[in-house]
């Protein structure tokens, strides 16, 4: 059943990204572009997505997942260099193209060659991330 639930979750996620317009890079860049013709859509998408999850996190209390096992541990609280630098690098890429990992996957079937190039580059970046992260830690300890 684990695979069925995972497929269902991915399907809801993919359909949500499509109908919300988040697979359209002009809407994402339009939201980031506060000095241009600002597009508020992304804020509604984020708000709409957070609502069911506020309930879901409450439901995890004193329970276990349907398939067994445990729910994720409470989030870590410490902020580190990786979180900040990684998020900045991600944000620059997100602004440049208007795609983040979810919509890049959801639009793969209709995004043409450019969409495929983006996802291949993204996977190359993911391969490189552990080394870049280790480099970042070395710079931190040298500083």
């Amino acid at each position: 059943m684990r695979l069925v639930y995972a497929f269902l979750a991915g399907s809801l996620f993919g359909i949500g990204l499509l109908i919300s317009g988040m697979t359209d890079t002009t809407k994402v860049q339009g939201w980031l572009d506060v000095f241009g013709n600002w597009d508020p859509t992304l804020a509604f998408v984020m708000g709409g997505a957070i609502l069911p999850m506020l309930v879901a996190w409450q439901l995890t209390r004193n329970r276990t997942p349907l398939v067994g096992g445990r729910f994720p541990a409470p989030p870590r609280v410490e902020l580190d260099r990786r979180l900040i630098v990684g998020s900045v690098l991600f944000g620059v890429g997100w602004g440049l193209a208007g795609l983040c990992p979810g919509p890049a996957m959801a639009s793969l079937s209709f995004g043409g060659a450019g969409g495929i190039v983006f996802i291949v580059a993204m996977i190359v970046g993911m391969f490189a991330a552990p080394k870049l992260g280790a480099q970042l830690d070395r710079m931190a300890s040298a500083a």
Binding site: F13, I15, A49, P72, R82, I84, A97, L99, S109, G125
Partner: protein, 142 residues
Amino acid sequence: MNTEWIWGLTGGLFIGLGAAVFLLCNGRIMGASGILGGLVERSDRSATAERLAFVAGVIGMPFLLRPLIAPQAQTHLTPDLAIVILAGLLVGAGTRIANGCTSGHGVCGISRFSLRGIVATVFYILAGGLTVVLFRHVLGVI
């Protein structure tokens, strides 16, 4: 009348429901970069099949349903391949170094009031906003 915000809210609810299913049924946090990155790094082999099933839904369902529900949907991705490649590399590396993206840190993190999720979201939005301002309004390349 502008109905795009209604579609945004409706689509957002679907995204949140997907995340809730993944959490309540499988006990997992629905983060697109973590799921894809986990496959790329081949970490935690026991999660591989589940990750593939998730990715199949994310890619497959829009493929199947777009002709019915959003036949006009396009990505409008820039044709400048240098920008596309640079952006892809930054998104891939950045999300894995930060251990999350818009879905993991944003949707799943903010909804449990995670400080790291909130801080990550502030930084990628600020960086994204400054990037659009710089590359669109100053340099004029996107």
